[in-house]
Symmetry: C2
Subunit: 360 residues, 2 copies
Amino acid sequence: MYINKLLMTPGPTNVPKRVLNKMNELVFHHRTKEFGRVFEEFNERLKFIFQTNNTVLTFPAAGTGGLEATIVNMFSKKDKILAVSVGVFGDRFIEIGKTFDLDIEVINIPWGKGVEIEEIKSKLREDHKALIVTHNETSTGAVNDIKKIGEFMKDKNQLYIVDAVSSLGGIEIQMDNWNIDVLISASQKALMSPPGLTFVGVNEKAWGFAESSNISKYYFDFKKAKKYMEKEIAQTPYTPAVSLILGTNESLKIIEEEGLYNVYKRHEKLATRFRDGVKKLGLDLFVDKKYYSNTITSIKLQNKADKLKDIMEDEFNIVIAGGQGILKDKIIRVGHMGCVSEEMINLTLDSMKKSLEKIY
Amino acid sequence: MYINKLLMTPGPTNVPKRVLNKMNELVFHHRTKEFGRVFEEFNERLKFIFQTNNTVLTFPAAGTGGLEATIVNMFSKKDKILAVSVGVFGDRFIEIGKTFDLDIEVINIPWGKGVEIEEIKSKLREDHKALIVTHNETSTGAVNDIKKIGEFMKDKNQLYIVDAVSSLGGIEIQMDNWNIDVLISASQKALMSPPGLTFVGVNEKAWGFAESSNISKYYFDFKKAKKYMEKEIAQTPYTPAVSLILGTNESLKIIEEEGLYNVYKRHEKLATRFRDGVKKLGLDLFVDKKYYSNTITSIKLQNKADKLKDIMEDEFNIVIAGGQGILKDKIIRVGHMGCVSEEMINLTLDSMKKSLEKIY
């Protein structure tokens, strides 16, 4: 039997019925004026949520596709890069870079913490072509201070590249004002749409890098995608995922109706409420206060994490996530992003309390 | 106002309400047993429609992503390949191969025709690592004799790679019996689902090629995708497009209910009916009888093609396609694949008749 479970995971997240219904309208053909109009509207909405006047490209792919697309379009083989990793997804970006022959220097931060600006200042060299940082690390729930790093990156020749897959639409980020040159996100996190789309914001400086890149690319070719977007009727080079674009367009409309800053405030309020509730249950948070995330909370539960996760799902129909990599069975991760209300937070806390009673 | 238009295009095609409704159920998380079960069921269904006992991989991407994935996983730089092009999509496969530094010898067939087996026999050399052929060329509506070529390819060391994006599920194809080593398709054509998924069938011989490939890949890594598929609970390395998998799984179920060979027969019957109707309107088909496609019919309409296309859409709410590349405004292309009935064929013919009366 199909049971509607509450998704309190760090993505995919709950998709509002309004978004699902929008996708339930018949798919229309992508080489039509109708699609062009929706796509143009959609692209404007993406620019708003990215807080940018630059182009935001859309590809049918997982967020990992967006990370790969950034690497193969921005760089040439042997380019030197400085990359920060604070967890699994920081590591993944670095692994992709190495796969495509980049020479990557890594700032490895202990999991659960964010990077300090001093460390970046001391490690970034003139010959680094870019700095890569994760905004919100999905595997730990730690946030990096993208704004402060952006102040340091202002007017530098290097690219400032930010993975905002699990933050965009939940935690404030301003591509243009914070001097971010390439910003990557995806549909299934705080943007509360089904998975399958990745978005990449690219500014003028980054387009210059695209011009000189010598890594082979075809499907993820930024320049071709931009060329098609700027046709008289906006298009994509290859068949777009029309239903997902319709859905995400509706999600972005919902965010605009609530007001982008109200959405951030709601995330902050619910995250605080959740963290406070977790502490009241006698549990410890995995992340230091300084790096608290408003979209994900991870909680220490040595050797009981996976059990709690299973009870929450099997008996309370609430899906949360366990730890990844070295954090397996050591933490649980609860997502509170996108389509989340106070009631959902309360229900999750209450079910956690009852589940813990079953374990201990 | 939103009008439900009839899609008689060569994809994306009409999506059955049953498929849309399936996607309207809440998206569930991809790292759960539920998703694993659906994904395993889905993978079995894909194997059935591919007519293979080998692995069929799924990636969130357009069909072009599946073509690129094939190139970067099967080959090494400078590998010599023989590729047949009978139109835009044959050219695209070749362009992708060249982008990734393959040494491609091309058999260029005049648009509107298919390749003859003799030409392949005379051009395929020992040092070619593979033969690449399009099953059904979406830009012209010509079909290549994949079965006959497969008989010739039997027991050869070379890979036989077939692009079946616009044929699979509409025109008979048997991956294993016809000696196809890599078979590529997508969700939005005869599989009557929304765009956003590409599928690649890979046999044992092809896995051997994957082992020695030296082209950089990450998102489209076949070996990693297979490893995740074979976990205790089937998974994907990166977030799968859950709603599209749910939808396509439903489409495949619909095809199984009708019976795969009944589906082929319906396509054949409707294609014949449509071609006969077009001839009765006094129009000429673009493709020779020998290469007729049961999923797409292209019709000569020198300098009137785009006008007819516009009238059909604006006044009759039927979306058809125009010519691509050198065929622009020279032909129209009508898709009759997937969710298509006799009534739709009749309506399309009737509307074409009325539209033509407005032009001439």
